[in-house]
Symmetry: C2
Subunit: 369 residues, 2 copies
Amino acid sequence: MLWDAGKLGKQTSTGRYSGSMRATVIYGERDVRLEEVPEPVLSSGIDAIVRVTAACVCGSDLWSYRGIAEVPEPKRIGHEFVGVVEEIGANVNNIKVGDFVIAPFYDCDMTCANCLNGVSTSCLNGGWWGSHDREGGFADGAQGERVRVPHADGSLVATPEQPDPALIPSLLTLADVMGTGHHAAVSAGVTEGSTVVVVGDGAVGLCAVLAAKRLGAARIVTMSRHKDRQAIALEFGATDIVEERGEDGIAKIKEMFDGIGPEFVLECVGTAESMDQAIKSVRPGGSVGYVGVPTGGAELPIQRLFGSNVGVNGGVAPVRNYIEELLPEVLAGTINPGRVFDLELPLAEVAEAYLAMDERRATKVLLRP
Amino acid sequence: MLWDAGKLGKQTSTGRYSGSMRATVIYGERDVRLEEVPEPVLSSGIDAIVRVTAACVCGSDLWSYRGIAEVPEPKRIGHEFVGVVEEIGANVNNIKVGDFVIAPFYDCDMTCANCLNGVSTSCLNGGWWGSHDREGGFADGAQGERVRVPHADGSLVATPEQPDPALIPSLLTLADVMGTGHHAAVSAGVTEGSTVVVVGDGAVGLCAVLAAKRLGAARIVTMSRHKDRQAIALEFGATDIVEERGEDGIAKIKEMFDGIGPEFVLECVGTAESMDQAIKSVRPGGSVGYVGVPTGGAELPIQRLFGSNVGVNGGVAPVRNYIEELLPEVLAGTINPGRVFDLELPLAEVAEAYLAMDERRATKVLLRP
């Protein structure tokens, strides 16, 4: 198969070619392959090379896999990883070779105005895994053996020491799903003693339950029809399960909360149906915290929101800004968000990892290179 | 002219017919008339009759006047008034005959779950002026001589004593525009030392400036092209004026705040253009507080909001919940929101009041029956 090496990580003139490694490439609908690609090389002076210890497949990777998001040409995929630093650029100061690091699902400098405001996903100099950065270097996808990390000082957070291997799944959730669930709860404004409903029982929805519990919510309802996911939700702090959906689900939720609904609903799916469920379930004056990547093209219904004073807050989660807050609790074992992984596979079986998630045989798959 | 007396306030069988009064009736586009209508009578036991001291015309009344909102049949109009209680129902306890009272732009019981949550516009038993209440009585429009007020104990707030006549314009703003501007600021989350841009220089926009100042905003930009309105905005606490609109306005605002925009934008118009201006001006992670009644049918752009983590909060303002907080400052003269009235007319000239606002010769017109 011929492919455009440039799209897959051919190094720029500022880099050097130093061999090959294996990384995941998506070719189109239901077609992901582990392939030999050029090994990453330092190129900007502020970057690092990280050997991946663990990566995973995200619900949002499935949008491409299922053909809902177009894949015009083969490209690297994956955006969640933890690993060990192998090389650093000359101007990297906060990270050293040998550090165990967590990378958020994007890169960011943590020094620009947006990063300092807590919105590192809007970093003025940041970018996304599997694409070229502003300096012309390539940031590899995470479902591979190594990744070149632009803005290493900003993007990466090192653990104080090499972590217990048993903690790796939970540390890996700080790259995305735990921080994203947390963002749903923080954006909605969840407070001590409040009432919360979580729409979505995927890894993010389950983490949102954990996040709401952590923030002191008194009552947390999970909307789920899957017994195994319900069990994790209950373990994470859910107080109630609602299996109904649509109008029945809304009626059930309203009834549970004085006939008017809960203070907060956390939308962790991204479809028009799930957002509709969230907006119609929350009480007048309440707030929807949303983190599901919007799909399907439905806009937000302003007349309904206006009439009921329902706020909508959230977006692509700035998980990098949350790592320092959540990491100590993961290291102490106070929270165990790694419980969302229910399948672990070697990187060589990445195609099976996608299939298992696509067929809902797994909630979230951890990959070991 | 023949008209359906029922639509204009014919009393139910529980009431008594006791003569006539003058009240404003809208017939259709640019056709408002002061007419003889039946005088209001008590009917539910929990209602009151208020003699109107002052009323006014709202920007939202212009939607019907301009033919943007349909008027299928003649109806009473007006929803902002202050006055003196003339009669009370047998079960009214908080209000007594002779009290000077402020009425919000809707009626509410202040005892239901939504009222107690601060969202009295979603009162489970409330209603709107110019329509029949749930008990079958008629709640008159405010642009008239008298109004029957359902849920008098909840809806009305009495001043501690008869107010200085000079304070009446400011007291009247608590019925709508001051409380609505305040809601924009509160919904956005304006805090001490924060940065705020106000889109809209009508009465609500000007009150939003005053509200942001009151909440401690450090920098408040008014987007306005009218010198007289700019002057009031500056008096109310605006620190900057921006005359540009659209893309130029957005660029100017971004530039004023570190290239990224202010923390909060208060949308006080309700058109697609003004909401677009608000959403594109606010910084990533910021919040839009909106109170302009949405017109034009444009929904909220979820992809843009998601990508930039911009929250949208607000809606039809629960001004009744704010009266106790704002009233003491009006009575003490600490705030003087009545400055938004720039024309005062006798009720007999209500048609001219509408025309003056329609032609933008007046920002807001006060009517004296």
